[in-house]
């Protein structure tokens, strides 16, 4: 029996769900968004501002894709959902009926009620419209202040620096992103920010934003009472679930839209996935709200299965993530807490350049691999995922590290240095097992 699946939100979660429903069924599918006509990669917004890409390049599918796959697209703003009559009501007064409703409304930028947070030239960065605003707001600007030391904050710094705008970066923590990164890694990024002429101010918070007579930002005042003149302020203190209309529609919410492991809300036939969903009981080792590209994709994949008749619980594999901080690439597999305490222990290696490092977290008793952080070296997801599943010991991991290397050809190999340091620290004599070089290409 064919149903009408309506998905609100055309980000990675909603679109992945739509694509997988299409793969698995002949249901009719409608995707609604007020942000953009077509799906684009939110993570690529920064590259548009920097001029690496144009907006059209950030669309993962060509425009013909949607019609070809019979996925209807509606660009309207949803005002409310009438769950009793199964109707989605738009701001223009029109409406559309559904059999199954998927809420994938994403996030919105946090604002904590600072004085002056709505002045002209003050903004967050999440939506396409934010990017358009930023283009406008940074015209002719020579100095900017960014509040909040997370991923969006450093992306915004990079964006502004690409246009030679001076950046003062206020970070509440002791080091950049050190609520996620262990201190050595965080300090590495501190230094790298300096290399890119970002004026990083640690343990600094925003107290107030001041404006000129035209209500345009003119300076910020920090918690230390310092006044910093600027013409642009980036508020990048995290994002929260975008739940304005679901809240008014009788769908149970807390911080996000409350769902169980099947992404079911309290209302039958209404589901929520992606950034906007909040698990009543999070999967083991996971947060109740997952705001990552990859998790959004997995939510969409899983829910599509349920919608198409095979009720499936969200069951994510080993955690992984990646980012890029200016020139330094970061990958992580498994769990690496920012503060490593018993029963965990860690091994850390850093290259003399201070821009490449590798951290291995393990269980102190069993010596089992728990997770890795790697900066400036690319490593294979598939290999670490397998090693984590197999419960490999760290000695095994270090000996087989070349197998996990994903750096391009001719890159310097750091495994010998890494294992030498490990041997020295642990009084062992491990030797690298695999090799990856010119000869290996002939004998593989």
């Amino acid at each position: 029996m064919s149903k009408h699946i309506v998905i609100i939100g055309n980000g990675i979660s909603g679109i992945t769900c739509a694509r997988h429903v299409r793969k698995l069924s002949k249901h009719s599918i409608t995707v609604i968004s007020s942000e953009s006509e077509h799906f684009f990669s939110r993570t690529a917004l920064m590259y548009i501002y920097m001029g690496h890409l144009k907006f059209e390049h950030t669309k993962p599918y060509e425009d013909y894709f949607w019609k070809k796959n019979k996925i209807d697209l509606i660009k309207k703003f949803v005002k409310q959902v009438d769950t009793k009559n199964k109707l989605v009501l738009f701001s223009d007064g029109s409406s559309i009926g559904y059999d199954t409703l998927v809420l994938a409304t994403g996030s919105k930028s946090n604002k904590f009620g600072w004085p002056g947070q709505d002045f002209k030239g003050v903004q967050g960065l999440y939506h396409l419209q934010d990017l358009e605003n930023m283009e406008e707001n940074t015209k002719g600007v020579s100095s900017a202040v960014i509040i909040g030391g997370g991923l969006i904050g450093i992306e915004m710094s990079e964006m502004l620096r690409s246009r030679k705008i001076g950046v003062i970066f206020l970070v509440r923590e002791k080091n950049f992103w050190d609520n996620i990164l262990p201190v050595e890694e965080a300090k590495m990024i501190n230094r790298h920010l300096g290399e890119h002429h970002v004026d990083l101010r640690l343990e600094a918070e925003l107290k107030e934003i001041k404006a000129d007579s035209a209500r345009r930002v003119s300076s910020v005042i920090t918690n230390k009472g310092e006044e910093i003149p600027c013409q642009f302020v980036g508020l990048t203190v995290g994002v929260s679930p975008n739940i304005d209309f679901p809240k008014d529609s009788g769908i149970e919410t807390q911080r996000g839209i409350l769902v169980n492991e099947f992404f079911e809300t309290n209302v039958t036939d209404v589901y929520a996935i992606g950034d906007c969903a909040e698990f009543r009981v999070p999967p083991a080792g996971r947060k109740s709200i997952e705001q990552v590209w990859y998790t959004g994709r997995m939510h969409g994949e899983t829910l599509a299965k349920t919608i198409c008749g095979e009720r499936s619980a969200y069951s994510p594999g080993h955690w992984f993530n990646s980012a890029k901080f200016f020139d330094i690439e970061y990958q992580t597999y498994g769990n690496v807490p920012n503060v490593i305490t018993t029963p965990l222990s860690s091994f850390y290696w850093e290259h003399s350049s201070g821009k490449i490092c590798f951290r291995l977290v393990y269980d102190f008793q069993s010596k089992n691999l728990i997770g890795i952080n790697v900066f400036g070296i690319r490593m294979r997801h598939e290999v670490f995922d397998r090693w984590l599943s197999e419960g490999r010991k760290i000695d095994y991991v270090l000996e087989h590290l070349p197998e996990a290397n994903f750096d391009p050809e001719f890159y310097r190999k750091y495994e010998p240095e890494i294992i030498a340091q490990y041997n020295m620290e642990s009084n062992k004599n491990l030797k690298l097992k695999a090799r990856k070089g010119l000869l290996a290409t002939f004998f593989k």
Partner: protein, 451 residues
């Protein structure tokens, strides 16, 4: 304040174009100006003076500018503003530049007398390395090689965070300077035939034409015969073997001068290639048609030569002439390079080059080469597709976790270089599992069951 040192005091914002860069630009401009003045008339009167001043100043100035520009910033991807700059985003300057290079090719091929003063400018160098006066092709070859060397140095500075790009660009420069410039020149100096050991049939189609083979075989000494042998071996034996191990990149982005110019002088324009499915369809028809065209032409010439003109008369010669004009001159030269600022750098390699077609077939069906994707790390940002000069929608594969196996991929490695999440890698691996049409994105236990 111990914990928050203000970096701005010790690390002030650097100016975008500093004094040294400006000096470089001024020297470059004077050099170009002198070159133009030489072209108008004085070049033939004082060739040595104008040659050394114009080439020396423009090359030196450009190098000063690039060295300062790239070394003052940390190593890393340098694509800022390529889509905002008029020259590199099909803006007015892009079109003007395109018209200028296209015009240069038209003049070079069909009105070389216009360039006479510039050709005379090259006489001293030509006499030095070839033992004879310059012609339009020596002028072209010299400028072409200079472009690859100077812009090659620039590419190395720009991509110095990637050893793959450093090694590959050095290889391109080496083969252009040595194999496609100095060796053919020195061969002429010693009265041997001008021969390019880095170009083979079907790109250098004449090398297996009966006329060339006959001419070479009549050369005194063994060198002519060796050249015939070299051409045949490279086309029919070395090419399949090297492509099996490394993919077509061993040639297209490591040796070939066309690819060499694209990856050095053309680098600022690489993003302009069309990534649409439609373009891919046109590409497949066009490039394979050219391959068929040259195979037919060469076969007809040999048949005609075998029957000594009795059967085909002038038909085979007509084919060869048509191919030479349409493909050899208009496509590979005028459009191939002239359209850099409009259609991207590999128009010829992608739509026209029969060698690329031949290598592509080998790469697709019998090669260990592929671009692998790293588990589930792709964020669909589009940087890889944007950087692909061959117009491959790399992202379409990467976001599915699928290996990229495409006949057209020249293995320049730029998709892997610009990927912000370390997702792509050029690899030579086992044939088993090379094509993975139903890949799984790692991370979701559920998804393994449904895909």
């Amino acid at each position: 304040m111990e914990n928050n040192p203000s970096i701005s005091i010790s690390n002030p914002l650097p100016p975008e174009t500093d004094t040294i860069q400006k000096i470089g630009l001024i020297l470059f401009s004077i050099g170009i100006l002198l070159f133009i003045i030489a072209g108008i008339g004085v070049g033939s009167e004082k060739p040595i003076l104008f040659f050394s001043l114009s080439i020396g100043l423009s090359v030196g100035g450009a190098l000063i500018y690039f060295i300062k520009k790239y070394l003052k910033e940390p190593a890393g991807v340098k694509n800022n503003r390529v889509w905002q700059n008029s020259l590199t985003s099909r803006g007015i300057f892009g079109f003007i530049f395109g018209i200028i290079i296209t015009g240069f090719y038209v003049v070079l091929y069909w009105f070389p007398s216009v360039l006479d003063n510039l050709i005379r400018l090259m006489d001293p160098l030509s006499n030095l390395i070839r033992g004879k006066d310059a012609d339009q092709w020596f002028l072209y070859g010299t400028l072409y090689t200079l472009a690859i060397v100077v812009m090659g140095i620039k590419a190395i500075l720009k991509y110095r965070h990637s050893n793959y790009q450093i090694v590959r660009t050095s290889s391109i420069m080496f083969f252009q300077l040595g194999f496609a410039y100095l060796i053919p020149a020195v061969l002429q100096l010693f009265n041997h035939p001008e021969f390019y050991f880095s170009y083979f049939w079907p790109l250098k189609y004449e090398y297996l034409f009966p006329s060339t083979v006959n001419y070479l075989s009549e050369q005194p000494g063994a060198l002519g015969v060796f050249m015939i042998f070299w051409g045949g071996v490279m086309t029919f034996i070395a090419t399949p073997i090297l492509t099996y191990f490394f993919g077509k990149r061993w040639y297209c982005s490591w040796v070939c001068g066309c690819g060499g110019l694209a990856n050095t002088a053309g680098d600022p324009f690489r993003q302009l290639s069309d990534k649409s499915l439609k373009a891919w369809k046109i590409e497949r028809w066009m490039i394979h048609s050219v391959l068929v065209f040259i195979v037919v032409t060469t076969s007809l010439l040999w048949i005609n030569s075998y029957y000594q003109g009795a059967v085909l008369g002038n038909i085979s010669g007509g084919f060869a002439k048509t191919y030479g004009f349409l493909i050899g001159a208009i496509f590979s030269g005028v459009i191939g390079v002239g359209f850099y600022p409009i259609m991207g750098t590999r128009v010829w390699c992608r739509f026209g080059c029969p060698m690329a077609a031949y290598l592509g077939i080998l790469q697709k069906y019998i090669s260990k080469f592929r671009i692998t994707t790293n588990g589930g790390q792709c964020i669909s940002c589009g940087n890889c597709s944007n950087a692909c000069e061959m117009g491959i929608d790399v992202q379409a594969y990467a976001q599915k976790g699928q290996n990229i196996i495409r006949a057209s991929c020249v293995g320049c490695g730029m998709c892997a270089t610009v990927c912000p999440r370390g997702v792509l890698n050029l690899e030579n691996g086992p044939l088993k599992g090379r094509i993975n049409d139903n890949p799984i994105l790692i991370g979701n236990k559920e998804a393994k069951l449904i895909l």
